[in-house]
């Protein structure tokens, strides 16, 4: 653990603070992903980890390796720029896909997780029926929507 002793105390404090806050925000995003009721609410929760978690852990890593090696280490910026550029694309496409599937099922936006105290798992046939509807290329023709 020689590289951990090379840091000055202020840098160790800053790195520890960044890492702890970033990991805690990522954990909160995971808790939100489990606890929230609707998919459109759940889509917002893990973005805590995508933005703040990545930013803080990358800043801590850059600071630590720069001070430990005595030169500017900035290659973690590649991950930061990549995540910053691709996260809106992925989540926007996922949200649009979910919206389209909900329109095909005429569900609206108030889809909720089934309650936990149900004994039989009902979502299985739901999921299967919906998988058939989603993968079926003629699904849009039944609801009368034109598929672009």
């Amino acid at each position: 653990m020689t590289h951990l002793h090379q840091l000055p105390p202020w840098a160790a404090l800053v790195v520890a603070l960044f890492v702890v806050i970033g990991a805690t925000l990522t954990l909160l995003g995971g808790v939100g992903l489990v606890r929230l009721k609707s998919f459109y609410q759940r889509l917002h929760a893990p973005t805590l980890g995508y933005s703040y978690g990545t930013l803080l852990i990358i800043l801590a890593s850059m600071l630590m390796f720069s001070l430990a090696e005595g030169r500017a280490v900035v290659h973690e910026l590649m991950i930061g720029i990549f995540i910053m550029a691709t996260t809106p694309i992925t989540l926007l496409m996922l949200g649009r896909a979910a919206l389209r599937r909900d329109r095909d099922r005429k569900l609206g936006h108030n889809e909720a997780v089934p309650p936990r105290r149900r004994t039989e798992p009902p979502p299985l046939d739901d999921i299967e029926a919906e998988a058939e509807a989603g993968t079926d290329p003629e699904a849009g023709a039944e609801t009368g929507e034109p598929r672009p």
Partner: protein
Amino acid sequence: MTAEILRFALGYAQIALILALALACWRMLRGPRAQDRVLGLDTMYINAMLLFLVIGMVNGNVFFFEGALVIAVLGFVTTVCAAKFLMRGEVIE
């Protein structure tokens, strides 16, 4: 002293990221619909990438960074393909 602070913070970060990974995995396994599973998988990719960065900081090894970069790229491609498949029913039209 500085090494103890850093070791405690990095150990806490590892435990928190593994917990976040487990929660995302729970959502991926149980998610009521397919888009929930895709979202859980994407969150698992990001959490694993952050865990790789933290493990690289613990070991003082720069090569974990490349693994984290590969995981980030694979997560992006996977999620975009899954979202296109959910939307259109096919990936490449």
